[in-house]
Every structure is written in structure tokens, then in C-alpha cells.
């Protein structure tokens, strides 16, 4: 992209400029939990106007590190230097007072307030008599949103927004007071392509204004696009700090300690495809978010659905699973016309749906991983029955752990204890606990590191090879191109383009995202 070219000279000048005083310096930061050391004496210099990428697998210590920079966590050892201050941050408020703002993956939004109210929360504009100025808050929010180029309705209630939009509200909040250091934790994980571009533009502008930025991402292609410097963490240790132009495979080797070839596995050849499992003819939902969708999905086939957030791709998957009313067209599973009013009917007919937001829709976090895995198999799987059979269940758990590469020994722990990658594996394991022919995956790799991503992709390809028909809904275009036999683009609730593998062209596919 052209923007990367613009960034290149800056990068080369920024890297060897030791005389610039760092905006923030971390010295010997340590964090111990009992006998476990999450972070070992990490040093970090973040210069003003630098986009510093933190890179590492889930559990490498990135989250621990940024939580201490943002004041959400107190280091066991070491200190921070910011401006004239030396010490640690005891609270998020203290970190903010020193100009450090963080956007975490866990949002700090009040769901029942509007976007505008959330943006001005804590710094509400006042009208006469010290009353709240609602119009002031709205104007300020609108100005900010327009300035950032986000597509966001400032009057919408946050709880009504999709995750990606909520993420944008969070970013608006963080940059509203021009921070000295901005921390972004996987900001694009749930953003659409368009909003991600707007975010990159914002990051470049903040950078030009001298803001230091720490950026965590698992998307390799973003690193040269936006970063200046990359710090790689592994097992809580600082491994290396290298320029962002470092080749991908070198970065992955640094991150994992081993070399990783292609992260996309081979998918079964088109010639091996079986009969049509799922047919949509002119499917239209009652709420009008999906209009006249047509699709043939064959056994062994992976069909990708691409498009912006809100284009109807998630809603299409939900409609096939009985989560959205269908007002027109037909849905056929194995050539039988079907209408589902509850997911139980869909699973019974042979459809499985894996939701995009594992914490909200996918997992009971305080329950053991094993219970989450086998939940629906008690109704539809091999051990269906009113009484539990612990031995049969244990066998199933053992099989599932093997299939998704999950540590069996830890399956008794609550899912909430695990990293994002392992949580996602539990979610995927749920789908394997019973026999179904059609799988719908909505964002199966959101917010997981490259290592876990690779095993998820292998899982998808094995699933297809075993004869399952897979509908893969994703906002990650490279992932769709790497894994699917065919790719459909949705826009405004309609399917607007179809591409065959072999004719994939990122630029041309992206053009169909926008009118």
C-alpha cells in the first residue's frame, strides 16, 4: 500500500535516534503470581511519535506488561519513567494523569448510555447552573467521531452496537484528551476493514503529533503497515526489539522460538466435494438485514463470506441457525426444507453455529472447560440421555481435546482461566461433540495468536476433509482467502460477488466491500 511507502523513511530515521528522550521508559518490570513469573525484568523505551508493536503469543506477557503501564496492575519489581516521574502507577487514574491511556479488549463502556455520553463520561460538559449539557456532549462526540472518520452514530446506545463499533467508542474515549502514550490492545480484532483503515489513519496522525503508541496485534500484515519498532516477548521475557520492516518469518521465529512455514493448511481438493448439504434460495430475514441470499454448500467444501461489519454476513449465519426470523425464501438442509425457531432444532437437523464473541455468546466462563465442551452433546451427541455418564463423557472430552489441541490435563479448570486461544479451542470443540453435517463459523480466530490460529486452521481443514460443509464468516480477508474454496462478498445484506479459489485478488475482493 502507498501509506507503507510513506512510512518507510520515517522508520529508518526513528530507529537509530537515541538522543530523543523516551516518552515512557520501563525499567526491569517484573510480575510474579505466586511461583509463576508472568514477566521477567522487561526494559522498554517508547519514543514520542513512535508506533511500538508488542508481539508475542497469548500468555507471553504482553497483557501483563501493558496493564502495568496503564496502572491496572502493580509490578512486583521495577519502575516506570515518564516525564519527571519515576515509580509505578497504583491506579488507572494515576496513569491517566501522566497521559497514559489504554484501550483494552475488555471494554470500559457503560452499556446503557449512548455513544456520546460514554465518550464524555467523567468529563461531562456543563451548561448553565452546573447542569449536564446533553447537546454539548453530542456535539463534542460528533466532532470527534467525524474527525476520526469512524462510522458511528453518537446517539446509539452502546449495548445496541456490535463489538467492533463498541471498540471504536472505546478508541474515541481514549484519544479525546490527546494522550502522551496510547496503548491499543488488538484494536482491529473486531473492526471491519473500513474502520481498521480509519484507525490506521488516526494512528498515523497521532504519531505525527508526537504521541507514543504501543500497539498489540496478531495480524502480521499490520506490522509493516503501521509499526516502527517491534518488541517480541516470549514466556514473559524480552526477546528482541527490531525494526518493523523485519520479515514476517523472522518475527514468527522470534515469537515462537521455532520457524513456522505457511500458517494455512492445505484444503481438500474441489474434486473430492460431496453432495450439497446446505441450500439457501432467496433467503430473506424478517428484519431485512439479509436480502435474497443464495448459496449451495457441499460436503467437504469451505465457503467464505466476506464483507464489512454490519453487511449481513453474521446475520446470514444466525438466520441459518434459528436465531433470526426468516420472512422469505427457503433454507434446505440435505435437500429437506427447514425452518428453525430454536438452535436445538437446527442442531437436530445437522447444523452447528459457532458465535463470534466467545465470552458473551459462547462459553460459561466459570464452568470447567470440559463441561462447556460437552454441553450440547448431552442432547445430541453420543451420550445423549437424561443421566450423565462420567466415563463416556471423559472419553468424549479426551477425544475433543485431541482434536482441537487443548491440554486435557487442564480441562477441569474454569474456561475463564485460559488464554483467548485456548478459550477459542473450547468453543470449537463444542461443535465436534455431536454429529452434524454443516458448520457455520463466525470469526473463528478472533483475538488469538498465530500459534493458536494455525491449529484452528488445521482443525477447519481437517473438518472439511472429513466431509463437513463449512460456512466461514470472517472479517479477516487473508484468512478467508487462505482457507476457502469459494468466497462470497456481502454488502448491505446482499451477496454482491463470488470468487473462486485461484482467482482470488485481495484488491478486487475489497472493491466489492464498498459501493
Amino acid at each position: 500500500m502507498t501509506s507503507a511507502g510513506i512510512l518507510t523513511p520515517e522508520r529508518t530515521t526513528a530507529a537509530p535516534a537515541p538522543r530523543v528522550k523516551p516518552a515512557l521508559r520501563a525499567v526491569g518490570l517484573c510480575k510474579r503470581y505466586g511461583h509463576h513469573t508472568a514477566l521477567k525484568a522487561v526494559n522498554l523505551d517508547i519514543r514520542p511519535g513512535e508506533v511500538h508493536i508488542l508481539f508475542g503469543e497469548n500468555g507471553a506477557g504482553k497483557s501483563t506488561l501493558i496493564s502495568m503501564l496503564a496502572g491496572a496492575n502493580v509490578p512486583s519489581d521495577g519502575h516506570l519513567e515518564i516525564g519527571t516521574y519515576r515509580g509505578t502507577f497504583a491506579s488507572v487514574a494515576q496513569a491517566r494523569a501522566h497521559g497514559v491511556r489504554a484501550v483494552f479488549q475488555e471494554f470500559s463502556l457503560v452499556p446503557h448510555l449512548t455513544v456520546a455520553d460514554n465518550i464524555s463520561l467523567g468529563e461531562e460538559p456543563l451548561a448553565r447552573l452546573g447542569l449536564l449539557s446533553k447537546s454539548g456532549a453530542r456535539q463534542r462526540a460528533r466532532r470527534l467521531v467525524d474527525e476520526l472518520g469512524f462510522e458511528l452514530d453518537v446517539d446509539a446506545r452502546v449495548s445496541d452496537l456490535a463489538r467492533g463499533k463498541q471498540q471504536m467508542v472505546e478508541i474515541c474515549k481514549a484519544v479525546a484528551q490527546a494522550p502522551r502514550l496510547l496503548i491499543l490492545d488488538e484494536p482491529t480484532a473486531s473492526l471491519s476493514e473500513h474502520d481498521a483503515q480509519a484507525l490506521f489513519a488516526l494512528v498515523r496522525r497521532l504519531k505525527a503529533e508526537g504521541t507514543a503508541i504501543i500497539y498489540i496485534t496478531h495480524r502480521m500484515h499490520e506490522i509493516p503497515l503501521i509499526g516502527d519498532t517491534v518488541t517480541v516477548l516470549r514466556d514473559g521475557q524480552h526477546i528482541a526489539t527490531v525494526p518493523a520492516s523485519t520479515p514476517e518469518n523472522e518475527l514468527i521465529a522470534l515469537m515462537t522460538g521455532r520457524t513456522l512455514s505457511n500458517i494455512y493448511p492445505a484444503i481438500p481438493p474441489v474434486t473430492s466435494l460431496g453432495p450439497v448439504r446446505l441450500t439457501l434460495d432467496g433467503l430473506t430475514t424478517a428484519d431485512g438485514l439479509v436480502v435474497n441470499a443464495n448459496l449451495r454448500l457441499r460436503a467437504g467444501e469451505i465457503v467464505g463470506i466476506a464483507g464489512l461489519v454490519g453487511c449481513g454476513k453474521s446475520e446470514l449465519g444466525q438466520a441459518c441457525y434459528g436465531l433470526r426470523g426468516i420472512s422469505g425464501g427457503t433454507l434446505r438442509v440435505d435437500n429437506q426444507p427447514r425452518r428453525f425457531s430454536h438452535p436445538a432444532e437446527a442442531i437436530g437437523a445437522g447444523i452447528w453455529y459457532s458465535p463470534p464473541d466467545r465470552k458473551r455468546d459462547g462459553l460459561a466462563l466459570m464452568r470447567p472447560a470440559r463441561e462447556n465442551m460437552t454441553l450440547s452433546s448431552l442432547l445430541f451427541g453420543e451420550q445423549a440421555g437424561a443421566r450423565l455418564r462420567p466415563r463416556a463423557e471423559q472419553d468424549t472430552v479426551q477425544r475433543l481435546c485431541g482434536q482441537v489441541d487443548f491440554p486435557l490435563r487442564r480441562a477441569v479448570e474454569p474456561v475463564g482461566n485460559f488464554s483467548g486461544g485456548n478459550q477459542q479451542k473450547v468453543l470449537l470443540a463444542k461443535g465436534l461433540a455431536q454429529e452434524v453435517g454443516v458448520y457455520i463459523f463466525d470469526e473463528p480466530s478472533v483475538g488469538v495468536d498465530v500459534g493458536a490460529r494455525q491449529s484452528i486452521y488445521q482443525y477447519l481443514s481437517r473438518l472439511a476433509a472429513s466431509g463437513a460443509a463449512i460456512l466461514l464468516i470472517s472479517s479477516d480477508l487473508p484468512e478467508l482467502m487462505g482457507l476457502s474454496h469459494r468466497l462470497l462478498v456481502m454488502r448491505g445484506g446482499q451477496m454482491v460477488a463470488e470468487f473462486e479459489r485461484g482467482f482470488y485478488d485481495e484488491q478486487r475482493i475489497l472493491e466489492h466491500f464498498f459501493e
Binding site: 510480575k31 438452535p343 437436530g348 458465535p355 460459561a364 464452568r367 450440547s376 443421566r387
Partner: protein, 341 residues
């Protein structure tokens, strides 16, 4: 959810590390404090009462505690089932009153019609009482699961409705005319040297434990309480699960009401007022999460025993009834503070 939790315990741990040379034990205790609250309070109060309450450790008193705890035990099981499913039942107290009044009325009427077969009269009364409780629970379930009324409001409102019905049926006066065998067996009877109500309570504990740990329904209940949306997407009929949970709770509360009726030998509309608070306290002390998804049967049984034990011990130490009420509330608050997650 985990992040602030980690932060809090980690901060506490750091502080502990600063104070002592061997942080391992303290740190582990702090991390496990949720699980340690109940055993700590239980053993602590046992020791205190054994030392200061005259006659606390006698066999008579132990039997007494077992017998006194029956009613709260069964209601606490009811409360636990609802709490695990993500609900809350504030109507358990008035359901106890309703089942007492309705059960006694039906039983007395049947005894008049069939004076020669008290067993049949008792069966009619028990059935009527249990059906009432189950029906109230069913309505609570429909209100929360289908109409999406918060359980707090639904059961609080229902509690008032049910109390009104109980007063209406009884006219506000005790109901007499129960077959004498009812009290003899279910109130004061012994079987193999153990009071019959205690046996019934133990059977209920076992049945509840079996339901929660060994059946698909139990697993679904934990899942619905843990994440209702995730359970729904896994094919669980979550509305049905919630309605069944409330109905079971209603029936259990009614059983407690009927056993209490047998003990009192009359149907009363003014019993059970303290049960909502005490049953919630028994559950919370036992680590049942008010947000749903977590709770163990055996722990709740011990939580109940703890509350009855404290009441019994204070009685022996001749602490006044007013002070006792204060202590029960304080225990609830302190145990919440200790177990805060």
C-alpha cells in the same frame, strides 16, 4: 472478568509478600479465601459454642440442631437451585405459609369426609400443598424466563400475592382439625432412632445433589446460570430449564411448609417470614454465586447448619432474639465481604 480478579488478589499478594518472609502460604490462603470462608466460620463457631454455650455438645442438642435445621435446609436447597440457574427466589417464605394453609385446609376437609382413613387425608393435604408451591414456582419461572421480568421483581411481587392468598384462605387464623397421625409421623416421629423430618431433609439433599451433579438437567442448569446465551446457542431450551428450576424450588419450599405444619399441628399463614434472607445467607456463605452458575449441594447443607448452629448456640448462651436477628444479617454481610471476588 478474570483481569480485575487477578489484579485484586495479586495486589493483596504483593502486600502479603512485603510483610512476611514466606509469602507462599498466605498467598495461597488469599487466593482460596472463597472456599475457606465456610469451613473457617463453621469450625470457629463450633469452637466458640463448645467453649461458652452450656450443653452445646450433648447428643440431645445435636439432635435438636438437626431437627431445627430441617426447614431451612429444604428451603436453602430450593434457593440454591434457583440461584445456580441465574435467578433469585424471594417468594420461598410466603410459599411456605401458603402450602401450610392450603395443605392444612385440604387435609382437614378430607379428614372430615373420610374420618376412617387418615392416610388418604394426609395424602390429599400433602398433594394440595405441593401442587400450590409448584404452581407458584411455575409462575415465577414463566415470569422470569418468558416475560423477562427480573427474578428479583417477579418473586418479590409474587411473594406479596402469595401471602395475600394465604391470608384469604386461612382468614388469618390457624387451621385446626388435622389428623393426629400427621403430627405424630411428620412432626415428631422417629424412624430407626432418627427424627422423620431429618430423614426427609437428608433424602432431599441427596436427591438435589443427584439432580445437580448426575443429570443432564443439572448440567443444563449450571450452563444456563453460567451463560444463558451460550447455553441457548448450544441447543439448550433455556426457558424450560429456568421454569423447571423455579417450579422445583416452589415444590421444595412447599414441602418445608408442610413439614412445619406437621410440627405445629396447625396450618399457619404467618410462618416463614425470615426464610428468604436465611436461605440466601445459607447459599451465599456456601459459595453459591448470586450471578449464577456456581454452587455445591453439600456446601449449602453446611451453610444451613452453620446458621442454625449459630442460632442454637446463641439460644443456649441466652442471647436475646433481637440480637440474634442482627447476628444473622451480620454473618451474611461479613461472609460476602470475605468471599468477595
Amino acid at each position: 472478568m478474570t483481569a480485575p480478579n487477578q489484579t485484586a488478589s495479586a495486589t493483596a499478594a504483593t502486600r502479603a509478600a512485603d510483610m512476611t518472609a514466606s509469602p507462599g502460604l498466605l498467598q495461597r490462603l488469599s487466593a482460596q479465601r472463597q472456599k475457606l470462608v465456610l469451613p473457617f466460620l463453621f469450625v470457629g463457631s463450633l469452637l466458640v459454642f463448645a467453649g461458652f454455650a452450656p450443653g452445646f455438645c450433648t447428643l440431645d442438642n445435636v439432635t435438636n440442631i438437626a431437627r431445627q435445621s430441617v426447614y431451612l435446609m429444604i428451603v436453602a436447597l430450593a434457593q440454591m437451585i434457583v440461584l445456580i440457574g441465574g435467578g433469585l427466589d424471594l417468594s420461598v417464605g410466603t410459599v411456605v405459609a401458603l402450602s401450610s394453609v392450603v395443605g392444612a385446609t385440604a387435609m382437614a376437609a378430607a379428614a372430615q369426609v373420610l374420618p376412617d382413613s387418615p392416610a388418604l387425608a394426609m395424602a390429599a393435604g400433602l398433594a394440595a400443598g405441593l401442587a400450590c408451591g409448584g404452581a407458584v414456582g411455575f409462575l415465577n419461572g414463566v415470569g422470569t424466563a418468558v416475560l423477562r421480568i427480573p427474578a428479583f421483581m417477579m418473586t418479590l411481587g409474587m411473594s406479596s400475592v402469595v401471602f395475600g392468598v394465604a391470608l384469604l384462605v386461612s382468614g388469618g387464623v390457624p387451621i385446626y382439625g388435622l389428623p393426629p397421625q400427621f403430627g405424630e409421623v411428620f412432626g415428631f416421629g422417629y424412624w430407626a432412632g432418627i427424627p422423620v423430618p431429618v430423614i426427609i431433609a437428608v433424602v432431599m439433599i441427596v436427591l438435589t445433589w443427584f439432580l445437580l451433579e448426575w443429570t443432564r438437567y443439572g448440567r443444563h442448569l449450571y450452563a444456563v446460570g453460567g451463560n444463558q446465551r451460550a447455553a441457548e446457542l448450544s441447543g439448550v431450551r433455556t426457558q424450560r430449564v429456568v421454569i423447571i428450576a423455579f417450579s422445583l424450588a416452589g415444590a421444595l419450599a412447599a414441602l418445608a411448609g408442610l413439614l412445619l405444619t406437621a410440627r405445629l399441628d396447625t396450618g399457619e399463614s404467618n410462618i416463614g417470614a425470615t426464610l428468604p434472607l436465611e436461605s440466601i445467607a445459607a447459599c451465599v456463605i456456601a459459595g453459591v454465586a448470586l450471578t449464577g452458575g456456581i454452587g455445591r449441594t453439600l456446601a449449602v447443607a453446611f451453610g444451613t447448619l452453620l446458621i442454625v448452629l449459630v442460632q442454637n448456640g446463641m439460644n443456649l448462651m441466652q442471647v436475646g432474639a433481637y440480637a440474634q436477628t442482627m447476628v444473622i444479617g451480620a454473618i451474611l454481610i461479613v461472609s460476602m465481604a470475605l468471599a468477595r471476588r
